[in-house]
Point group: C2
Chain length 324, copies 2
Amino acid sequence: MSQAPMESAALLALDWGSSGLRAFLLDGQGLTLASRSSAMGASVMDGRALAYVQALQQIAGDWLQANPRLPLLACGMVGAKHGWREAPYAACPANEAALAAQTVSVEFGQGRSLRILPGLLQQAAGQPPDVMRGEETQVFGALQQHPQLADAACIVMPGTHSKWAELRDSQLRGFATHMTGELFALLRQHSVLGRLMPPVDVASDSSAFLAGLRAAREQGELGLSHQLFAVRTLGLTGELAAAALADYMSGLLIGHELRAGLAWRDRRGLAQAPLLLIGEPGLCARYAQGLRAFDCAADLTLDNTAPAGLWRLAQSAGWLRLPP
Amino acid sequence: MSQAPMESAALLALDWGSSGLRAFLLDGQGLTLASRSSAMGASVMDGRALAYVQALQQIAGDWLQANPRLPLLACGMVGAKHGWREAPYAACPANEAALAAQTVSVEFGQGRSLRILPGLLQQAAGQPPDVMRGEETQVFGALQQHPQLADAACIVMPGTHSKWAELRDSQLRGFATHMTGELFALLRQHSVLGRLMPPVDVASDSSAFLAGLRAAREQGELGLSHQLFAVRTLGLTGELAAAALADYMSGLLIGHELRAGLAWRDRRGLAQAPLLLIGEPGLCARYAQGLRAFDCAADLTLDNTAPAGLWRLAQSAGWLRLPP
């Protein structure tokens, strides 16, 4: 975009996670006027404020210059302890007002500032704590796009650290993290299992993925650390081709997440509520196939809802720059 | 040992695993006359036959020279596909005769040869295959040391890849692998969880270890990949000190193994049979504490039983060099 329609811009929404930065120029109705992305995630900033300022100027300097009164709102790891400015966790359950109330501001020159949303900390009796940072905004973005979810929904956000969240009465009531993506990457890159796999994944093997899912569903009580060893033995005996082993392993890991996650959903009283998938489309498609293997289906699959969530939170807090 | 009592030596027993080589000079009653160890495990040999010959000469060249008729028997990864000489897996269930029958020989000069025991391959209907290589010898070594186990025993061998084995009617009837040690090392060295831990483990925190065990026992249905994330959140919130996080994680991983392993034991009809731990004493002590957290106890804890197993297998196959 060389010339953004700056006159109608109401918010610069920043989805600023560990591994990347996405910037969205939104209008007064929440429509996206323009968007950009960069690899300048919080994990490469090493906590240096100047690096954040530079990344922000790099991705949106022209927008900021063209619109000196444009408000900015960010979510994600940019607000972590080792991010740009810590936005301490808000307590879960939380509604939009609670998130807005705990937003922090950081100045970045010429009197301008960026608002950063807090993450959520869940502390339930008899349970270790759980945290999210960025996914809370995805949840409210889904609500923004689909107001009928306000009553109740189970929202699954697959990823490095997958989150399962309960939305009820427009409140983020509780959630649970699964380290599925990180475990896959660790095992793929560093374990004895990865050594049997081709160095680069080629075409996905859907039947091996399904076999892994079924093993998790039907025999998950044998334990994940036991079932993972089958990736090795199926390779050693030639029962699975080397190129299929990563998919079998993925099926096992996603299957164990679904096994535990669906039980969590049922315990939260969400068995009849809409089930959503939010995330990168390719990954959501794998989870959708996974859900089918568990005789379930996603009622909705949404791509990144962070901009919708940032807009909704800014709108309800009165932070949008609306035309006079 | 400069001068081994070579005249009474009946076997050179080699426990030759991935990460090390242990040599035992045994007499006609199975007593250890001398032992040595080296770091020349199969994993550093890169499959080169010459490297194996050199490692063998290095650890036992003087013994071999002093006793030209000394028989040699090895178990472990030395017989893997990428070891010195492949000893293809024998089928599980297996007794001693089956293992002896599938032993292979490799010559290493001057007409001398080393016998290498096979590993075991389990292929049960409706289950992925499972494999062991070296642990089968540990099992028969335990039987050699404690003949009363012949009827039935559940034998747990903790390690990088822990093995749970069923010994029944002097036969190794079935087994299950858990990748507990490898998962711990991966998570410790490469995951987001390891980053919160001190670079080097200091004193062990027994109460954190116990808390991890209890979480696995009482809430394991929440899923290992969910519960592992608590290592991060307990660290972030300061509920556990950084120095205690590795022990909590160890408790979770060992707890999940015990949860699944004890259920496996019960399904195999071994709930009333003796329960054994075999392995490195420090690790066995952790598993013993783990068993207590599951209201169980090990009936016997044994250090390396490989030499006893090698002797027993050689004895029953008629391979010992006995005095005239």
